[in-house]
């Protein structure tokens, strides 16, 4: 059981280093998916939200890391 838990932890750590970053990315993807799928489907707007959201999340996360350090 411990071995399985360790293996699972290793796999999760491949994708999640900073929990806040991962949650923010998932939130952006969810919002984008909602815009694309829910009526009236607006796929291009979904793409803009996805791209802009990811860039904003990256910048905000890095700046927050500096503030935490300071």
């Amino acid at each position: 059981m411990t071995g399985l838990a360790n293996a699972l932890r290793v796999v999760v750590e491949l994708f999640v280093d900073d929990g806040a970053l991962a949650i923010a990315i998932v939130a952006v993807v969810t919002l984008s998916a909602a815009l694309a799928v829910l009526p009236p489907g607006q796929p291009l707007l979904a793409g803009i939200v996805l791209l802009g959201g990811c860039l904003a999340v990256l910048a905000a996360n890095v700046l927050r890391a500096v503030q935490r350090r300071g």
Partner: protein
């Protein structure tokens, strides 16, 4: 039709970084306990990775393309932006650079310490260290290859790029008999982080049916945007660090 070049480049660069990290540990094990446990552990790691790839390959062909693109896109975003964030923080000096020389020294010291304490079945421990290094770093290589290859059905060229990087690093490492400390690891991670994040946005959007202007060429524009934001973040972070330092 999309070119395989971006997928091959991303797989090659990502594999280069991971191969250097794995080789550092394997060399440390070989230095202290000899090539037998180091080689055995590394070989076992390779076999385990090959089994994972063989198990995943047929499954991927059965998944609908849009679903595959969406799932892989999200995973690429998580993985790529994690790398990019860390590379930005390292470039700005917020966290220390990854030092292969230091890793080699600490791994060697740890094994020597255990040797002094006459830990039972030391060769098995050494082989396990080698196995874990190859498996853990190799998992990242396997993920990158599957992620950048499967979304556009370029698994074979992406695998070739990854394999070329691993062979190159192994050849240089075995000739030099020391870790490749001069590889600009953070620069490579920065570049790969930018590429994987751009791929991630593209594939996630494709999976959601986003009509990207310029189709595949949009990846280049996304990479340029991630690069610009990352460079700006480094500059801003450095300035903030100067402001807050006494």
């Amino acid at each position: 039709m999309m070119s395989a070049l971006p997928a091959v480049t991303a797989a090659f660069l990502a594999s280069l970084v991971e191969a250097v990290e794995a080789l550092t540990i394997v060399l440390a094990v070989a230095t202290v306990r000899g090539w037998r446990p180091a080689g055995f552990g590394a070989l076992a790691g390779f076999v385990f990775l090959a089994l994972i790839v063989l198990a995943l390959g047929p499954v991927l062909d059965r998944v609908p393309l849009h679903l595959l693109q969406f799932v892989i896109g999200v995973m690429l975003l998580l993985f790529g932006m994690r790398w990019l964030r860390k590379a930005i923080l390292r470039a700005a000096g917020v966290i220390p650079l990854h030092d292969e020389g230091a890793t080699f020294a600490s791994e060697t010291a740890a094994l020597r310490d255990e040797e002094r304490q006459r830990v039972a079945r030391l060769d098995r421990l050494a082989a396990l260290a080698s196995f874990k290094a190859v498996l853990l770093e190799g998992l990242e290589v396997v993920f990158v290859v599957i992620a950048v290859g499967a979304g556009g059905r370029f698994l074979v060229p992406a695998s070739a790029g990854a394999l070329l990087a691993c062979v190159l690093v192994m050849a240089i490492g075995f000739v030099l008999h020391r870790p490749l400390a001069r590889v600009p690891e953070n620069t490579l991670k920065f570049a790969v982080g930018v590429m994987l994040s751009a791929f991630g946005v593209f594939w996630t959007g494709e999976g959601l049916g986003v009509p990207w202007p310029g189709e595949d060429l949009a990846i280049i524009a996304f990479a340029a945007l991630f690069f610009s934001v990352a460079i700006a973040a480094i500059a801003l972070t450095r300035r903030r660090l100067v402001e807050v330092s006494p």
